[in-house]
């Protein structure tokens, strides 16, 4: 009996090891987008200092966890941000990621997507992985550029805006959503995939997960250690300010009987809109 069990276990391990996947998920801490934000003198104002894990990145972490639970492997996360952003690494570890890497930068360092991609690429060159996942964009800037720029810098195959992921041999089968159909893209590994939040419903960490996350390792890697030159990371683009979307002119309202209304409308379409 014991021998049988032993064989089954070995088979199971062998099966798993054939598909073992090491994911690294690039995550970002963003302001809680549910808190009210206003614009004053060209600057964003918010009463809340609550920071959260970018929802698209949360979907990427979830998908990586689901795939490793199915096929074996591990999920690590990497985050660029100020000291406070380490809380967000803890959240990912509490969800089930195994180790975290924190690349400290000053709060409000002002990097653009190219800067983030350069830092991540430098870090990832020192790290081994099978696949890199990240959110398709971050909820604060909505640029949606870092994933693609990262793939380019690493010279890796890339697919954006995934709504589903499956492991197929030594590649990831990426499901992309169009208006009326889905597109299946095979991304050979190692590769980069950016994830949509339509992909899954990220798990809520349990108290056990939160407790376990305390024992997991978070390694700090400074940009200097990665051999990065601050000047080279200087953003090429600059956000010059914020302003409210101009209010739309209110529409005109007419009250009359049907015949009169039709006449007015035709007149306006001819003379004002000039479409007929």
């Amino acid at each position: 009996m014991i021998r049988f069990l032993g064989i089954f276990r070995l088979l199971k391990i062998a099966k798993k090891s054939a598909f073992r996947m090491n994911f690294i998920v690039c995550i970002k801490q963003v302001p809680d987008v549910s808190a009210p934000v206003s614009i004053r003198d060209g600057h964003l104002q918010t009463d809340s200092d609550r920071m959260v894990l970018n929802a698209y990145d949360a979907s990427a972490v979830e998908e990586a966890l689901v795939l490793t639970e199915k096929h074996g492997g591990r999920v690590d996360v990497v985050l660029i941000g100020p000291e406070k952003a380490k809380e967000t690494i803890r959240k990912a570890l509490a969800m089930g990621a195994e180790a975290g890497f924190h690349i400290p930068v000053e709060d409000g360092a002002g990097y653009d997507s190219a800067g983030y991609a350069a830092i991540l690429a430098a870090f990832l060159k020192t790290h081994s992985y099978d696949a890199i996942l990240t959110g398709k964009q971050s909820q604060d800037t909505d640029s949606g550029l870092a994933g693609g720029m990262l793939a380019d810098r690493l010279g890796l195959p890339y697919a954006a805006n995934a709504v589903g992921l499956e492991l197929e041999g030594n590649a990831l089968l990426v499901k992309r959503q169009g208006d009326t159909a889905q597109e299946m893209v095979l991304v050979p590994l190692p590769g980069v995939v950016t994830c949509s939040n339509d992909m899954n419903n990220p798990r809520i960490p349990s108290l056990k997960g939160i407790m376990a996350s305390k024992k997991k390792e978070v390694t700090t890697v400074s940009p200097a250690e990665l051999g990065l030159d601050a000047a080279a990371l200087k953003p090429a683009t600059v956000v010059t300010g914020y302003r409210n979307v101009p209010a739309r002119n209110p529409g005109k309202k007419f009250e009359a009987d049907a015949e009169e209304l039709a006449r007015t409308l035709v007149g306006l379409l001819q003379n004002e809109a000039k479409v007929i």
Binding site: E87, K91, A94, I204, P205, S206, L207, K208, I210, M211
Partner: protein
Amino acid sequence: MFLSPDHELIRETARDFALQRVAPGVRERDEAEAFPHDLIPELADMGFLGIYHPTEYGGAGYDTLAFCLVIEEIARWDASLALTIASHTSLGSGHIALAGTHEQKERWLTPLAQGKVLAGWGLTEAGSGSDASGMKTTAVRDGAGWVLNGSKMFITQGSVGGVFVILAVTDRSKGAKGVTAFVVEAGTPGFSHGPKFHKLGMNSSDTRELRFEDVRIPDANRLGDLGMGFVDTMKVLDGGRIGIAALGVGLIRGALEESVSYAKQRSQFGSPIGDFQAIRFKMSDMDMWMEAGRALTHRAAQLKDAGRPHTREASIAKLYTSEHATKAALEAIQIHGGYGYTKEYHPERFLRDAKLLEIGEGTSEVQRMVIGKKLMG
């Protein structure tokens, strides 16, 4: 006070869980007076049914402060479910954690803290509550074991619980020092529960009468020393009241958040009603009650976690938050106007649920007695 990053993460986790899993269907559960059996395994997976019990006994190994955060987040949406969690954790399981031997904790606390079984706790009777001298339920020595007779009233988890801690008179001549606690498992011959009580609120929490007719249990089911049942009960209630206080904070927050959101979208006389001072002042008061109530509750929790006396602080927190939860719910109904009087909106349920907090685990009057006794010695 500020929460540690650990506690912040617990709060965020509980908030997400409450929003995604508890809020949907809360009005339907209230209307149907339906116990949420399907949510219990989810709560167990989250670790919410043994938050501050030691990991050694299946708990999550956190503290009373973490417990308060979770209770507040759940009560924000569903006070009935928060009451289930609070009473299970602090009363039934809490009494075993306080007075049980290692063997008793392994046997009963572990499945309770893991959330595999729910706990009930029986102190109140038809003719007695906070006054132990009126207790009628007896436990009489019978060879190596005990025989219980009597009944208990308004017992939370009465029909859904698997393990019950029951207070019974073991020596009438000794008054409060003649009361002992026993563990009675569901299914023990002679142990039964009455029909469901139809209540004003807390409708999806299960409340029953428990009956004991020659219920035989071994001495291994005796919890704590002979005659110490009521002394331990006072300590259990100190912890229980912190849970009720957290429940009150959650209800005040619910009343406030629903009011703010309604006051932004409801327009009268050409502007949102939230622009009117009459409405703003009400909401400012509710905000103040929430902050004050939370500060009192967290302070009591931290004293308990530090192993320091907290009877007075727990009573003050419970008294303040429960009375203000009722007030806040009334204000929320007023702000919602005619809609607030309907069951389509949350505030009327908040009011019905909040009233229980002024009654359960010692009425407001009993809290004032407890606080007054501490003042006068």
